[in-house]
Each structure stands twice: as structure tokens, then as C-alpha cells.
Amino acid sequence: MKLKLVLEILGFVALAVLVAVMPSFVSDFHSREFAIVGMYFIALLGLGVLTGYSGQISLGHGAFMAIGGYTTAILSVDGISGHPVRDIWTIPIAGVVAGLAGLLVGLPALRLSGLYLALITFGIAVSFPQLPKKFGGFLGGTSGQILNLVKAPFGLDLTPNDWMYYLTWGIALVLLAVAWWLLRGPTGRALQAIRDSEVAAASSGINLAFYKTLAFGISAFYAGVAGALYAMASAYVNPDTFPIILSIYLVVGLAVGGLGSLAGLIAGAALIYFLQNHADTVARWVNHLPAVDLNPKQPGISSAIFGAVLILVMLLLPTGAGGLLRKVFRPLTTRLYTRS
């Protein structure tokens, strides 16, 4: 047990160091790319708590990101009674608003299980983009809201991309630590108990309603923060900024990252970003195979590649990257336990 703890803390420190020095090795634009990976990572952390730990499937977390993003947009453009709020301060507010929405969803979710819950949350993902279209007014309608651009940090001499990077990963590391700490403790045990057997958990005195709803709220908070950051990075929100497919991508990232693993989620976040934005790179790799000549610009190629990669990854690694990590580190962490 102790060894595992030490490994986890070492891993965290290594990550923090990597985060701190990365921008000096990569171009400015790459910093931005890593920043967006960080945003997906934050959202996946939340989803990991919900699905990986409490076992509730949500196919609608894009909607919580959208709530966070729209909150940031409205607050920083229109502000509170006419006073625009500085973008950084909108982040916690966006998280809280999204978290409250998560609690609201978590309550009726108590009555649903398994795939019913999955489909209802999917329905939320589908329905949510319609709301800003109907309630044009302050939500900006289809043409959306344009935010203040330059994320000028207070006096720090950083490019906007580097600033976004440090802001995002700073928050990500903090939220990662919080999630890890939460999950190590009684909350985490309660959630895992619920995931493994609701009946057994209830008989042990765990308040199902409280913990399940809490999981929704926490995961929505995380998604809201991610959405707020994404809105800042894009300087624009409209219904297409958080489309239906985003909720799907989040679940994909979670599955690829591996349920129950926090570190694997970084791989999941990277995959989501990479497959969306670098389909041409993948096409070029595939073109190395004999008799294959793909044109990445041909409509349909990027979808086909994304789909094929997903299928392959899931067939080869059903437990995701996290599962792989666990297998790799198992000799280290279980060596001391010869009786198991």
C-alpha cells in the first residue's frame, strides 16, 4: 500500500515538473494545443469520478461544458448588472453553475440505471444546443457570443497561448490533486462500493442518493471549469462550440483512458484532441502501408480514420490506457503481497 502511494505522489510531481517546463521546448502554438488537451483532461477527470467510480454512465457531459462556457461568456461580456467580470474569475463561477446543474440532473438520475441513464444523458447532450437557439436574447442565439480575446494576464510577460497553457494545467493539477484526495478517502470508497454493488453499499449504510448525486455534481463542476477555459481559448461560444459529438468524444476519452484510472485520462484527452485536429498526420502514417494512398482532405477520411482507430483501440485495449498502466505497474505494487 505504501509503495503505491509513493508511486502516485512521485507520478504527480513528475507531471507537475513536465507541465512547468513543457512550453520552453515546444512552439507557441503547441502550448495552445497542450492547453486544450488539459481542458479535455479536466472534463475527463470529472467524468472519471462519475462513471469510473460511481458507475453512472453519462453521455451528456458536453452539456455541462457548454453551461460552463456560456456562463463565462455571459459574465465576461454582459457581466453582472452591466459590469463585465474578468475572465479568470468567471471560471469558478462557471464550475459552480455547472455543478448545480449536475446536481439537478443527478436527482432524477437516481431513478434510472445503466443504459437508460446513458440514453437520457445523451438526450441532454442532444437537446442542450437547442436552448441557446430558442432563448436568443442574452444567450446569443445561433450566432453566439464573442468574448474578449486576448487573455492578457496581469502583467506577466506571457503570450496568450502560454498563459492559457499555464492557467489550464495549473487548474488541472489542482483539480487532479483534489480528485485523487477525494477518491482515496471515504468518498471514494463509498463511490466504488456503489459502483460494485448498490445493494451491498446500501446495506452497509452508505447513503446512495447523497453519493450518487454528489458524483454528478462534482463531475459537472469539473466539466463546467473545462468549458469555461475552452470558451476563453476560443473567444467565441455558440451552439456549435459544444456540439453533440463532444459528449461522445468525452466518453471515448474516458474509455480509452481507462475507467478507474486518473493518469490514463491524460492519454484519453490527448487522443480526443489528436484525432480531431491531426487526422492528416494519421492519414500520412497509414499511407506508409503498402497499396494505401489516402488523401486526408477527402471528405469522410477523418471520420473513417477516427472510427477505425477507436474500434482497434477498444478491441486491443478493452481496459484502456489506465488498464495498461495498471498491468505494467502491477509487479511493482503487488510484489509485496504474495498471498492474494
Binding site: 512547468a20 517546463v21 437547442q130 437557439k133 482532405k297 471528405p299
Partner: protein, 406 residues
């Protein structure tokens, strides 16, 4: 501890950046001795993927020009990225093209919202946003705030106004029903129509919008028919336009139909029930490669030969796809603009060139159209003709009409 490290890294980065900037003081990004680099963000996947063909058409045209020596001795390098019609990705692509790829200018990015999303950041960084693929009036009108932006095709609101004026002049007791896509694109057309109708705007008896997430517009058309209108405006997009004609035919309704340009490609009109399509009126400014009118036209022959020779993965369907032609027309104007920008183009000089256009003889638009801009009038394409669908063909009638916003 981490904070100190961050600070040190930042100082180092700043020092490096300063040194780099000092090394090449006035270099224009995207222009080298043999190359000009243009960038674009278009949908190549998802629902709007077919519209992305404008970039493929432009790409073929640039390759053609390069094969003939390029512009003032420089080849045009055209990099376009897929945004899946998602503004977030469009922003990411644009930043990547400007910061990473160091393009000279953004060219013909597609989508009203996608272009709105990047307009401020391009203008703040003084990067030209040229010949935007969108008919939203704002791209030509708001130049005071966004001097580095210019549109291309006639604004949708003017199109609506032209229909309105035609109705006032030619239809005696119009009772107008409107089917429109419920977003800025459709609403632009409707408000233009209202303007064109003027005092007769009250002849609009029914107006039903549909959301692009709909699966079929039959219920909407059924509702419109019940209003007993004798004129139907189809301000729709792609398959919804097709479904509208289908529904009109199935309901045995025979109004005078007006269909907007974007949905009026011959390839589309020829697959709807012809009893509904015959007599429909639209506007046109480009040459439709699927129309028999232009089968032997030199411009369209050139279009098809360029696609065959320089296009990638071109199918026989693509040779009749109007999106490719639109892309090529825009590319033609782009090349002219680059020529006008001088032997050593800068971003400022290309903006000047783009706002002082007087292009005649673009082989991919209607004969007689002059692509004309001034710094205060940034609508390059403002001449159209009316056309009527009859016997499987669009037949233009009347003279060139102005679609310039007043």
C-alpha cells in the same frame, strides 16, 4: 518553487523571442522569395462537408496557376484545415495557420459563425481575412471596425430584397408563405425579402422556420399550404430544400416558388419532382457546371480541365459540383488580388489590392459581371441575374441586377 521555475522559463522564452524578432525585422509572414502561403478553415467532415469542396476547387486552381509560373514568380502554397463546421475548431485552425504555419493571409474560410469567431483575432493581429465564404452582410458592411476583412458572394439579405422587388413588380395579388432555416442565414433572407417588399410586406401570410436538426420539413410545408398562399419562398439549405419541393408536390400545391441561390444548384433541382420545380425562380451569379447552358462554355471547360489535371481524388460527380466552381471563382479573384499587391506583397498591400478590385472576365461567373470593390464598398460580387427553372434547366432572364446593399 514551481513559480520560480515558471518565471525563469518565461524570461528565457521572452529573451529568445526578442532575439528572434530582432533577427528579421520586417519580414512579411507567409511570403518568401518563391512562395506565398495562404490558409483556410473549411468543413471537410460532418454535415457541411460538401461545402468544403470550395477549398478543393481553389486548391486545384492555385496548382494550375503555379504550373504557369505562379504570381510574380512565386508559387501559391494553400493550406486548408478541417473544422467540421465547429467554430471552436475554426479558431484553433486559424491560430495554427497564423502562428504555426505563418500564413500570409486567411482566404475563403467557410461559414458565417466560423468567420465571425475569428474575425476579431485576425483583425487585432492585422492578418487579412480575405473573400470570406459567407453571405452575411456584416463581412462587407462593418469594415470600419474590421478593416482587414472582406467578403465575396452577394449578401443573403440583398438576395431576399431582389425577390421582394420582383414580386412587387410582377405578381398581382401575392400571398406569400415563407419556409426558412431558423438561423442567421435564413433570417437574413427573410428580412431582405421584407425590405424588398416595402409597403407590400403585409402580403406575407405565413412564415415557418425549421431547425437544421429536423429530419424532414413536410410538416412545415403542410402548415404553409394551409395558409392558402400563392407564393412560396424556399429559404432553405441542401436536403431541406429538396424535401420542401417533395412536400409541395405531394400536397398538390402549385404556388410560385422562389428558391435561394445556395440551394438552387442544377444537381439538386433536377432530382426533385419536376411538377413542383418547373417555374421556380432563383438568382444566379456563377456558372453552374451541371447546367446544359454552360456545357460548351470556355470557362466551364477550363474549370473541368483544371479539376481533372490538378485536383485530388476528383470524381465525375465533382466535375458538376458548383462548390468546386465557386471555389475556383474565388481563387481567380485571389490571384488577381495578389498580382495587384505588387512584386513584394505585404499584408497591407494585399488589403489595398482587395479593396480596389475591378475584375472583368472571371471565367467562372456570369459573363458581364464585374467584381468591383472600393475601401468603402466591400462587396466584390454584387451583380446577379434572375433565372427560371424550366424543362430541367435554369434559364436566366432579364439583365444583370445589382445586389449591392444600399
Amino acid at each position: 518553487m514551481v513559480g520560480v521555475r515558471v518565471l525563469l522559463v518565461c524570461l528565457l522564452a521572452a529573451a529568445v523571442a526578442a532575439a528572434a524578432a530582432g533577427a528579421r525585422p520586417n519580414a512579411t509572414p507567409g511570403v518568401t522569395a518563391n512562395e506565398i502561403h495562404l490558409g483556410s478553415s473549411v468543413p471537410l467532415s460532418g454535415e457541411a462537408a460538401i461545402a468544403g469542396n470550395v477549398a478543393r476547387g481553389a486548391e486545384a486552381y492555385f496548382k494550375y496557376v503555379n504550373a504557369r509560373g505562379g504570381v510574380n514568380g512565386r508559387r501559391i502554397k494553400f493550406t486548408y484545415l478541417d473544422d467540421g463546421y465547429d467554430p471552436g475548431r475554426a479558431v484553433n485552425n486559424t491560430i495554427r495557420l497564423v502562428q504555426q504555419e505563418q500564413v500570409f493571409a486567411m482566404f475563403s474560410s467557410l461559414g458565417t459563425n466560423n468567420n465571425l469567431a475569428v474575425r476579431k483575432l485576425l483583425n487585432d493581429n492585422k492578418v487579412p481575412q480575405l473573400f470570406v465564404s459567407s453571405g452575411a452582410t456584416t463581412f462587407g458592411r462593418d469594415y470600419k471596425k474590421y478593416p482587414w476583412t472582406i467578403g465575396y458572394i452577394p449578401p443573403y439579405s440583398e438576395e431576399g430584397a431582389i425577390f421582394g422587388r420582383y414580386i412587387v413588380k410582377n405578381i398581382k395579388k401575392p400571398k406569400i408563405a415563407i419556409l426558412y432555416q431558423d438561423d442567421d442565414y435564413g433570417r437574413d433572407l427573410v428580412s431582405g425579402l421584407r425590405r424588398g417588399l416595402g409597403a407590400k410586406a403585409k402580403s406575407i401570410v405565413a412564415r415557418v422556420g425549421y431547425d437544421p436538426t429536423s429530419s424532414d420539413v413536410q410538416p412545415q410545408v403542410t402548415q404553409l399550404k394551409a395558409s392558402k398562399a400563392n407564393v412560396l419562398m424556399v429559404f432553405a439549405f441542401g436536403k431541406f430544400s429538396l424535401q420542401a419541393f417533395n412536400a409541395v408536390s405531394r400536397l398538390n400545391w402549385k404556388p410560385q416558388i422562389f428558391v435561394n441561390d445556395v440551394s438552387s444548384a442544377s444537381a439538386l433541382m433536377s432530382i426533385v419532382p419536376q411538377k413542383a420545380a418547373n417555374g421556380a425562380i432563383s438568382i444566379v451569379f456563377g456558372k453552374d457546371p451541371a447546367s446544359s447552358l454552360w456545357k460548351s462554355d470556355k470557362g466551364i471547360r477550363l474549370f473541368q480541365s483544371i479539376l481533372k489535371q490538378h485536383g485530388q481524388d476528383i470524381t465525375s460527380r465533382d466535375l458538376k459540383d458548383g462548390y468546386f466552381t465557386a471555389g475556383m471563382a474565388t481563387a481567380y479573384t485571389m490571384v488577381n488580388t495578389l498580382k495587384k499587391a505588387g512584386r513584394n506583397p505585404t499584408r497591407q498591400s494585399v488589403m489595398n489590392a482587395a479593396t480596389h478590385l475591378n475584375e472583368k472576365g472571371n471565367p467562372f461567373v456570369l459573363p458581364g459581371i464585374v467584381i468591383h470593390t472600393t475601401p468603402k464598398s466591400r462587396f466584390p460580387l454584387t451583380q446577379v441575374r434572375l433565372q427560371r427553372w424550366q424543362d430541367n434547366n435554369w434559364r436566366p432572364f432579364g439583365k444583370l441586377i445589382s445586389a449591392r446593399p444600399r
